[in-house]
Every structure is written in structure tokens, then in C-alpha cells.
């Protein structure tokens, strides 16, 4: 469709008072998107930002003339190059998707057919829509692979989705979307599932693609720092309503709305950490631990660390670095092959079954996904009360009052005691997970990515709660995370892991200050910063290095 372009600054999209509502048999449900208006010119990128449930994806899909099951566009107009797509027939809308508007989803792995090569899938849209011959589409695909900095562009497309990395697949998806030369690209959290170091490359490739093709784009994300690198305009959304709309610069530098100010501020503000651990004897000592899955792949290779009372030790690394496996080794779910783990100086047996009840009680875990970490069929009384009944064997009334006390401590209403997790929000569920861990009165809590499944502001509250509990109870945390921003704020010690090995370890200030280990530096420099020129700087620094 791009070949009919007359005006370089043509308005390609006009969303006018869009309103999307949920519908059920019982009648109209909640309004998901309310009164959203924006225009998009060729070459312009608008960022839609907000927490889960803000309606970002719903708006993105509406631009394709599509709503999820059970929702309907109830009002407003979506004008794509002069035509209101809501008045189009289903066949006309179909013709629009691909050549007119293309969509890039969060999980590329789930969007590709594993049984077809990348060429087949990238070329499918232009060939299906009759825009190009298969041979021409292949040439276009190779060109796009080259533009996206994919390795060996001529032959890259011969591979199957499982034969390329996650970051490459995400770029291949951009190539797929771009193949039919759409007027608008919709990016829906395209880098959220990627590691930070990969995110930088993918972001750079996306930006180059948008600039070179002078395409309009909608970039949906929850990460303000990411969107600042790529968007001209940013619209902040909350509960389906627009909070603020302005240029990227203005949103970052001079946010007008209170909510935006909080989003911008949270990243900047530091919390500091407590440092009173030095004199204490070590609580957990791990020395030269080795572990592998099915005695084939070695996942942990010679890790040693030490946690004292009141410590927060962060274990950082990207996916596949073995940081979650380390937690499994400490808890005994995965018996270690070699090395020692001591708790309060006492040697812990490798396997869970060999440990005593007391040894199990003293190390508790909090998980990444509160949805699956809490049994949906039990009430909070059962969930939080069970460790008390199991370890301390108290009478029922006492358990109930202790659970109520824990709920209060978590800032949860006491009336929640008879609810099931399904009735709670994500942040509340995570609080229940913390309460359950505390119910066992442990010395050490292993936190496995506890904030990464939560919205930014909710995650901040959880961190604050954990910190407060540490101050009150003196618990030690082993904090497994990929988010370096979190580490700097809450950890006094940090261990950086790469492919099962420790590359750096020590006090946070020391590890995160020059001289760096090269990998630590790569990790640190890959964390998006809350300013729009960050990506340029990083790319420049890396190309000169």
C-alpha cells in the first residue's frame, strides 16, 4: 500500500473517541477503553504506556479492527487513511491486516508455526495478499533480515523458529510484519520477554526499521524507559482512560499528571539498604556447589556465597544463567553434586527428603508468579495457617489469630482471611505469598523474581514491604532477579551469574562500580534509562568500543 503514498506527512491513522466495552450474556460489562483519541502521521511513533489492565493492547487490536472475544467497539471512529475501518466488511478488514496495519506480539515463539521455515512465514503475508511473487517476497525478506542485523541474511530464513534465539525470533517477527510494507506497525510489548542485553539490540533494530521505512508505529509497553527510546509521542493510560498525552521529552522531563510523575519517579528514587550485617556470623554458606540436570547439563558450576542475618544478597543474571536453579539447590529440590551448603554452620543434606523439618522451616521461598504459587482452592486461612499448624502444631483459634496478625502485617484487610486467591489482585496475592513464608518464622527467604510479574508501582510496594519486614524481623533475603534496578535499591550484596558460574560477587557498591567485570558492565549498560537519548548513547559507546 505504501507505493500510493502522496504525502510524506500524511495522517495515516486517526483514532477518535474510541470506546471498547466488555460484553457478556448478562449485558454490557465494564468499559475497557474509554474516550481515547490520537492521530498518527507517517513516520511517527506513538507509545502507549500503562500497567496491566490499562487497555493498551485493546487499543492496539482495535486499530486492526479487531477485539478480543467478549469485547466490542462501542463508540468512536478509527480512520485509517481516510476510511473508517469500523464500517468495513470483515473481508475488507482482512485485506487491511498485513498490508495496511501489521501486529508484532510479545511472544514471538508463540506466534510462529514451529513446522514452517522463517522464509515461508515471512513471505506468507505479501504472497497471500497477492502483492508479490514468492521470489520477490523472498528478496524483500532477505532485505529485511539484513536491515534488522540478523546473521547471514541470505540463509537466515531457511531456519525453523526453534533454531534461532529469542531476540532473533522477535526481529524475524518484525520482518514478517514489515514484509507487506504496512502503513502502521503495532508493537505489543515486543521486548518484554527478552533479556536486557538482547533488548538493546532488538530495540535498535526496530528503531532503524521504522526510520528507514518511514512507517508509522504504535509501541505498546509497560516500561517507560523503553518507550522513551523509540517514541515521539507518549500516551499514558490507566484503567482504559488517558492520563496524559505529550511528546516523549515532555512526559519524561515535565510530567503533568500525578500518576505519570509516580511512574517516572519510581525508577529514579533509591531506597537505600540496611547495613548491620557485618558483625553477625554467616547464616547460609555455600561453597563450590555444582549441580546439573539429569547429570548431563551442568547448570551450576562452582558457586560460593555467604548470607548473614539481615543481609539482602541479590543473585543476578539473564535467563539460563542458573540463578533459579541455585534456589532449587539451596532448598534441596535439586540435590547438589558437589560442594557444601551450611545453614547456621550446620551442613544441609543435598536432598530435601534427608532434611529435618526444622531445616525445611528455616528457609522459605517466595515465587515469581503468585497465581501458581498459591493453591486457588484454599482460603487464605488454609494457605497461611498451614505452615503454622505444620511446624508449630498450634490450636485452631491461635492459628486464626496469627493469620490475622500476618494479614495486618501485610497491609491486607482482615476480612480476606476467608477468601480464595482468585478474589485477590496480583499484588495482594504476592503479599499472601510473603505472609505464608513468614508464617514459618524462617531465617532466610529466597525471593525468586518476586516483582517481575507485577506492575511497576505494585512491585515497588512489595519491595518496600520486604524491606520493612527485614527491618522489623531481621530476616535475610536471597533475591534472585534479572532487574538490576531492583538490585541497586534493595541489595547490600550482589552475585552476578553467567552460564552457571559466578562472574562477580561482593558488596553492591563494589560490584556496581568501576572497575567492572566486562559482563557486569554489559548488563548495567543495558538497563534502559529514563531519558530519550539513552539508546543512542549506548549504541555509540558500543560501536566505538
Amino acid at each position: 500500500m505504501s507505493d500510493t503514498v502522496a504525502d510524506e506527512n500524511e495522517i495515516v491513522l486517526e483514532v477518535d473517541h474510541l470506546r471498547v466495552q466488555a460484553r457478556s450474556d448478562a449485558g454490557p460489562g465494564p468499559v475497557l477503553v474509554d474516550d481515547i483519541s490520537f492521530t498518527l502521521r507517517r513516520g511517527e511513533v506513538i507509545g502507549l504506556i500503562g500497567e496491566s489492565g490499562a487497555g493498551k493492547t485493546t487499543i492496539g487490536l482495535a486499530v486492526l479492527g479487531y477485539t478480543r472475544n467478549g469485547c466490542a467497539i462501542e463508540g468512536g471512529r478509527i480512520i485509517f487513511r481516510g476510511r473508517d475501518i469500523l464500517t468495513l466488511s470483515p473481508a475488507e478488514r482482512r485485506a487491511l491486516r498485513g498490508p495496511g496495519v501489521a501486529y508484532i506480539a510479545q511472544s514471538a515463539a508463540a506466534s510462529f508455526n514451529p513446522a514452517m521455515t522463517l522464509f515461508e512465514q515471512v513471505c506468507e503475508i505479501p504472497v497471500r495478499h497477492g502483492l508479490m511473487s514468492p521470489a520477490a517476497a523472498r528478496e524483500v525478506a532477505i532485505g529485511l533480515f539484513r536491515e534488522l542485523d540478523l546473521p547471514d541474511p541470505e540463509n537466515f530464513g531457511r531456519r525453523y523458529p526453534h533454531q534461532v534465539s529469542g531476540g532473533q525470533l522477535q526481529r524475524a517477527m518484525a520482518a514478517m510484519a514489515m514484509a507487506a510494507r504496512p502503513d502502521i506497525l503495532i508493537f505489543d510489548e515486543p521486548t518484554t520477554a527478552l533479556d536486557v542485553t538482547t533488548q538493546v539490540e532488538v530495540l535498535a533494530a526496530f528503531r532503524k526499521l521504522i526510520h528507514e521505512h518511514h512507517t508509522a508505529a504504535i509501541y505498546i509497553t509497560h516500561d517507560l524507559a523503553v518507550v522513551a527510546q523509540i517514541a515521539d509521542d507518549i500516551m499514558v493510560l490507566r484503567h482504559g482512560k488517558m492520563v496524559e498525552h505529550g511528546t516523549a521529552e515532555q512526559i519524561l522531563q515535565a510530567p503533568r499528571a500525578e500518576y505519570t510523575r509516580r511512574l517516572v519517579a519510581e525508577r529514579v528514587a533509591g531506597h537505600g539498604f540496611i547495613d548491620r550485617a557485618a558483625a553477625e556470623p554467616p547464616l547460609l554458606t555455600i561453597s563450590n556447589v555444582v549441580a546439573s540436570y539429569a547429570s548431563l547439563a551442568r547448570v551450576i558450576d562452582g558457586v560460593s556465597l555467604e548470607v548473614r542475618r539481615g543481609d539482602t544478597l541479590a543473585v543476578v543474571g539473564e535467563s539460563g544463567s542458573g540463578k533459579s536453579t541455585l534456589a532449587r539447590v539451596i532448598t534441596g529440590l535439586l540435590p547438589r553434586e558437589a560442594g557444601e551448603i551450611r545453614f547456621r554452620g550446620e551442613l544441609l543434606p543435598p536432598a530435601l527428603a534427608q532434611r529435618t523439618r526444622e531445616q525445611k522451616r528455616l528457609v522459605q521461598m517466595i515465587y515469581q508468579m503468585p497465581d501458581v504459587a498459591l493453591n486457588p482452592h484454599q482460603t487464605l486461612l488454609d494457605i497461611i495457617g498451614r505452615p503454622i499448624a505444620f511446624y508449630f502444631n498450634r490450636p485452631k483459634a491461635e492459628i486464626r489469630s496469627r493469620v490475622l496478625e500476618l494479614l495486618r502485617m501485610m497491609d491486607l484487610p482482615e476480612s480476606f482471611i476467608d477468601r480464595t486467591p482468585g478474589e485477590l489482585s496480583g499484588g495482594q496475592k504476592q503479599r499472601v505469598g510473603i505472609a505464608r513464608a513468614l508464617a514459618a518464622e524462617p531465617d532466610l527467604i529466597i525471593c525468586d523474581e518476586v516483582t517481575s510479574a507485577l506492575d511497576q508501582l505494585v512491585g515497588e510496594e512489595i519491595l518496600r514491604l520486604l524491606k520493612r519486614l527485614q527491618e522489623e524481623l531481621g530476616i535475610a533475603y536471597l533475591f534472585i532477579t534479572h532487574d538490576l534496578g531492583v538490585v541497586k535499591r534493595i541489595a547490600n550484596k550482589v552475585t552476578v551469574m553467567l552460564k552457571g558460574q559466578m562472574v562477580a560477587s561482593g558488596e553492591t557498591e563494589t560490584v556496581f562500580a568501576p572497575p567492572f567485570h566486562p559482563y557486569t558492565e554489559l548488563l548495567l549498560s543495558s538497563v534502559p534509562e529514563m531519558r530519550s537519548d539513552w539508546l543512542d548513547e549506548v549504541l555509540q559507546r558500543r560501536s566505538t568500543a
Binding site: 530435601l352 493453591n375 484454599q378 505444620f390
Partner: protein
Amino acid sequence: MTIPGVRLFGHRLTWPAALGLVIIAINLIGAVGAPWIAPFDQADVVCDAWDDPSAQHLLGCDNLGRDLLSRLLFGARMSIGLSLLITSLSFTIGIVTGFTAAIAKGWVDAALSRTVDLLLSMPSLIFAFVVLSVLGTEVPVLVVTLACLDSTRVFRLSRALAMNIVALEYVEVARLRGEGLWWIILREVLPAARAPLIAEYGLRFSFAFLFVAALSFLGLGIQPPDADWGSMVRDYRDMINLGVTAPFWPAGAIAVLTIGVNFVVDWLLAIQSRGHGENA
């Protein structure tokens, strides 16, 4: 397809499901109330052989001159009661072994799974034949044998279901806490597997029912003079050629109850596949 305003377990009832529930209810009432509802005892000879239906004998009489309606009602008692017993026992065995295999993994899983494979590799009807002809056809032997055979299928389903559930973190939490096998089976895994297991229960109930009918038909199930639908079909089948309606009633009862149960099962499967929380 749904009936407006009528809900069961928080889900809208469909017409076929409602019909199925009515069928099951009628059968249960007949089975439980047989001694009071039935006009005659199942073993009493009250008329001539193959008498046509009359005001006194609504469905006519059988080969020995017993009232067909009474035998059908008492037969329901035997057939449905037996199937319930067999299915319940088979589910208890299947769920416990299946969940244990999934939770314990390793050699426990291997041993249980291979034993089940062994049992599954033999045609169950023939296997049941051998066992019943060796051990006799008393009701307890029949129930235990069929329950064990049937539990192999339940084992496969429970193990597969539990495999997915034990991978969830809340089960891991229970393990880390040091909970025993029974707690994990009953409190952590079973509630999450309930819906598919209930649906399967309905399905297997039908199968058990047909299996008992088939065994009775072949002479290895319920022994005379007790009535059950399968043996009634066997006893009356030759009369089909002579135009007597007698074999139609027990055969029809088997068919109708099976269909009724399956209507309800289909509905249970449909609401369960729609997931939690949705009530539509």
C-alpha cells in the same frame, strides 16, 4: 441451547443436560424405590410366559412368567448399584495410584505405569472372563475385578492430570514444607483435578454399566434369580424374532441411561473446558 434462569454449580444448564439429569433421577428413584414401587417381587412367577402387556402387567411378562416391570425396577437396582460401586472403587484405586506415580516420580512411577501397561495390553473382557471363571461370580469378586481393570484407565488420566498440577509452585511449596503424600494428594492435587475427574466418572460409569451388562449377557455377571438389565437382554433376546416386546425394555433402559449420563458428562466437560470464573 441453555435454559434461561436455571443454574447448576453456578453454570447455565443446557436442555440435553437437563434431560440427562431427569433420566438419571428417574433411574435412581426406580432403583432405590424398587421394593415399594414394583408391583411384584422380581423372582415371583405371577403370570404365563410371554404374556402381552396388560393393565396388571404394564410391560408384560418374561420367559418364566415374572412381571417385566418389576424385574426392570429391581434390575436397575442391581445394574446401577453395581456400576456405582465398581466406578467408585476404580476411581479410588486409580486416583491414589495415579497421583502417587506423578508425585513420587522415579521408580515408583515406572513400576506403577508398567503394571498398568501390562493390564491394559490385555483385552479387559477376556481378562475379566478368566478371573471370574477362576474365582467365581460372587458380587464382591465381580466388583473388585472390574474395579481393578477399570482403574487402569483412571490411573492414566489421574497421572496425566497430576503431572501438570505437581509442576505448579503451590505443590512445590507443600513439598518444601515437608508435607506427606496424603496431604499433597488430597489437599493440593485433588481439588485442581476434580472437574475432569467428575466428567470421567460419568463416562466410566456408563462403561462399567455396559461392561456388567455384557458380562451378564455372557453369563458371568449377575446370577439368577436376581435381575439385571444385561442378563434380561440375554434371557429374552431370542424372542425378538417372534415379535415379543420383552427384550426391548431392558435394552432400551440401558441405552437411555447411558445417553442420559453422557448428556450430563458432555455438559460437565463443556463447562470445565471453559475454565474457572466464567459463568456463561
